[in-house]
Symmetry: C2
Subunit: 359 residues, 2 copies
């Protein structure tokens, strides 16, 4: 985010009815808006999104100079939506963490450029940082208003959404928005499949800036875009997408709870080799190393419980290590196979060999 000059903020969760009526959304959000009334009879909503709040913030800033634009503000905060039917755990909950970014430009042209720039960062987040295959489809702007809009989808069997996607020209569209028109011939390159939406971007135009008085130095309303990533639902969506064959979880390394775990038998717990293994792993890998000292449980059960929470590398100091300690100590190294990451493989390696395998 910093690479595109976006500034981190943290906006209030409660938005007043007065604020939400300025762009006429108090009523148009309908039954999805959770509301509360305070002791002075003022009405508030638990905000599902923050276009109004962020635009008001910008409208209240001291005079901005032209070279300060585009102005990009983002937050990662709890949002609320009174779902008719909350389901699938974190996938469709009434409270969810969302990363939302709002951009403010002095002209429609530069707003389009900003839209492309931020979208390309979102592409990178999904593809390069998380290593996910997302499908970007055009979408209807809906209640948020504005002109252009795109959604990011992941394949998911729960039929929360359905898209048509052309594997040749990479155009896509939600099935509910009508047929996809692409120029790739007979349509054999277009397939339709079940997905879940994990990101949404909008070119909003001046709907909010006009209503809330956020103006350019020349006093015309600012051109806005907004960009959201559904952080909470990303987790179950990724777990589903990358699921291995057995009851194990695979996670992109950046969001794995630990980068490796070391399972140690009761006999080896006080041994210097345990300390050596932990410190070697710590030097080679960031992200924290978990020491599994549940020595009363058997090793197989401990391996399984670590695979169930998405630990990508497991090192066992047990029987093998005990037997080889007086020569060159070997450990069991358990990690997904290179090239076939759905299968785990189990190798007996010396510490040096293991570090080379980690790379």
């Amino acid at each position: 985010m910093e690479s595109i000059g976006a500034m981190k903020t943290n906006m209030p969760i409660l938005g007043s009815r007065v604020l939400w009526e300025k762009a006429s959304r108090w009523n148009s959000m309908g039954a999805e808006l959770l509301t509360t009334t305070d002791r002075h009879d003022v009405e508030w909503c638990l905000q599902p999104t923050a276009e109004e709040m962020c635009t008001q913030l910008v409208a209240q800033l001291p005079a901005l100079k032209k070279r300060m634009f585009p102005l990009l503000l983002y937050q990662t905060s709890q949002k609320f939506r009174d779902e008719m039917n909350p389901r699938f755990g974190l996938l469709r909950a009434r409270q969810f963490l969302m990363k939302d970014l709002y951009s403010f430009d002095v002209s429609a042209e530069s707003a389009s450029e900003t839209y492309e720039t931020v979208c390309s960062v979102y592409d990178r987040i999904f593809r390069d940082i998380l290593g996910l295959e997302t499908y970007k489809v055009s979408a209807q702007p809906g209640v948020h208003g504005g002109s252009q809009s795109h959604e990011y989808h992941l394949r998911n069997p729960l039929e929360e959404d359905k898209i048509q996607y052309c594997s040749r020209c990479h155009k896509g569209k939600k099935v509910e928005d009508g047929p996809l028109s692409c120029a790739c011939g007979d349509g054999s390159s277009v397939s339709t499949f079940s997905t879940i939406e994990v990101g949404h971007t909008f070119q909003l135009g001046t709907k909010y800036s006009q209503a809330l008085g956020a103006f350019t130095p020349e006093k015309s309303p600012l051109e806005m875009c907004c960009f959201g990533i559904g952080v909470t639902r990303l987790l179950p969506a990724i777990v589903e997408l990358l699921a291995g064959r057995e009851e194990t979880i695979r996670l992109p390394p950046v969001i794995a709870p630990f980068s490796a775990a070391v399972i140690v038998s009761r006999q080896l717990l006080p041994n210097v080799l345990t300390e050596l293994t932990l410190s070697s792993l710590h030097r080679h890998l960031g992200g924290g190393i978990l020491l599994d000292d549940r020595v009363e449980d058997n090793i197989g059960k401990r391996i399984k419980s670590l695979q169930e929470i998405g630990i990508p590398r497991i090192v066992v100091l047990g029987k093998t290590t005990q037997e080889t300690m007086n020569k060159v100590a070997r450990v069991e190294y358990i990690a997904p196979q290179k090239g076939n990451e759905l299968e785990w493989e189990n190798r007996e390696l010396s510490l040096n060999e293991m570090m080379q395998a980690i790379g």
Copy 2:
């Protein structure tokens, strides 16, 4: 927190009326509880604290073994209180960030030990990490229930609270809780002054564990304590407490927005010296270095604006640097005086001398 085995969690903001009625707090919280009703007519509150939620979480965990206790869970999350009179900006707001920790013990004795352990960590956070002089006073447990309770106060002129404190035996009590009795003679060591509460700790006993079914392996209710730090109000309280003589903000280094700022004149912006200064500071200090490139404003104005947001060290590459560039370049180094931190001092130093001054 990790040093005492506390585990980080993140609990929901909304708590159901059913949950809050289990320990009879839905009504006893009174008008301070902000509530909402969802589309299915279920009532929820925007939780001001999370004893119920956390105890329910523990009650739902798979069977816990005795050696897993004490169990310490904490979060830093948004809380809500429908204040009669929200005021003083972040000091008394309806939404605030609170760090809350809940402990679960198998006996009252070990709960007392846990209480002392966590309190000593809180002492360290306030004294060693933030460098603040806090006053720990005994307090009434109030609506939270339980036996023992303490509050952490900072001196503050706004008269939000008032305490009596003995400078000899370090006993203290809130004025509203009646006179302080201490054994230090004629009372000349006791003074009364205006403060603001920034932390609160409680020994809760079994009120919540009994009501929500959180039991020891032997099926007796767990002994609980809870510990809160008001993160949001700490910021204005610290700003007030450490205020210098002029319109500047001083902050403890760990919470300063940047550890240093470099103000560069237009002429020196492209000079390699700017890069050298930034990278030297970056190596010596953590916490981020701010490059102030607002070259159209005069240097004095820029210094003032950085002091106003609590930057603890300011380096100026301007006229002095320009004039000395062909010999040994000197910079202006502006930082609080050693020993009299209310006053800033301004010295002309070479880069090497500046790094030595930073230490």
